[in-house]
Symmetry: C3
Subunit: 161 residues, 3 copies
């Protein structure tokens, strides 16, 4: 059990980590995205329907940082021109457990997309379930599971959330 | 008048409180919602039109934490299945006064709803006017007034904002 | 190069500044808006298309705080009645450089608008490119460039973003 001041301090550091994560995605600097994870990591995108039913089968999953880097390469090769812009809004960040150097958190996200035609709308909403660890003096994701509410299956070439 | 460092410290604690509050609502853990309030509390939802006209007549009001707990029971009995998901985005949190142990704040909110059919859209926007007090070493709401901009009257069975 | 704890402290202060900035705009207290800037400042609104093409020609620009005050006066004279409400959601705030007392930051924003008819929708998304300096013991914007993704040209009388 952490003291309140310790919890606030840790929470602030994880909030700042989330802002840096969002910054990379929203500004299309995908090459920096894998660097937010440790090498031995997990990244999954899971429909809420599956998750709530107890079968959290992901539609997209990466089992290590190499797979994240491959994914970025695929996206760059497939989409020569940037064709949309994401803007995240995150909230509801809470620390759900701290054990053996692993901090687990839950948070809400909303993504607004602006299409190439210039129309902005709500693209997706959902939550992040993260496990965060210290590596070389910085917080990195060991696991990030994106559980999306919206019933719209992201295509295989979708930009990371 | 607080020193800047004291203000930042207090503000960070209230920001974290708001994140925990949002987390409970966005993840449908309504049973924990009354615990964010002191027993002798006020919770109101007020249309902006009324508020701006100087007649802040709420369409929903609770005069103590017991009424909040009753409200959750009603919601659970009426809605057997969860039929929508909320995701809040909050911003613009400022401390407007500190007096006699009561901290008053103002903040903006946007709620995106995902319907059972899987469509995500902006459901509501507005502001929170909160009074926060310390109880048993934790911050709790003594008063939360939700002033909504959107001209859509939440039904009596709407989930708390 | 800042130490992690220094960066988190500075970042928290700039996050709080952004919340206060948003609070003024979202609650239509435009008269306080110029006070967030030093006198010798720059405020620009730039379409992303221009910015990305290397021609960051703004559609709205102010070259000093006097022009910001003039702008508020114009808005008040032209729009006698408030006819819409903004609610910002900001995220992805990162410090991109610290040099000679100037802190540069980048962040994402989403603005939801509620029209006089009471309809809420995504109005605009984009990013802020800010330069922040200390003045009289408080952080103020020396430069704020608003680069919007959405292909909808804000009219000359639009409320500041």
């Amino acid at each position: 059990m952490m003291k309140p001041q310790e919890r606030i301090q840790l929470w602030t550091e994880l909030l700042e980590l989330q802002h840096r994560y969002v910054n990379v995605l929203d500004n299309n600097r995908l090459e920096e995205w894998p660097g937010f994870f440790v090498e031995d990591c997990r990244y999954e995108i899971i429909p809420k329907e599956n998750f709530d039913a107890g079968f959290p089968v992901p539609i997209i999953y990466c089992r290590n940082a190499g797979m994240l880097r491959d994914r970025v390469l695929s996206l760059r090769n497939a989409n020569i021109y940037e064709d949309h812009v994401y803007r995240h809004a995150t909230s509801g960040l809470v620390i759900t457990s701290v054990a053996d150097g692993v901090v687990s958190t839950e948070s809400s996200y909303i993504v607004v997309i602006t299409s190439q035609a210039g129309e902005s709308s709500v693209y997706q909403a959902g939550k992040y379930l993260d496990e965060v660890v210290q590596e070389d003096g910085a917080w990195r994701y060991r696991s990030k599971r994106v559980v999306y509410d919206t019933l719209r299956v992201p295509t295989l070439l979708a930009t990371p959330i």
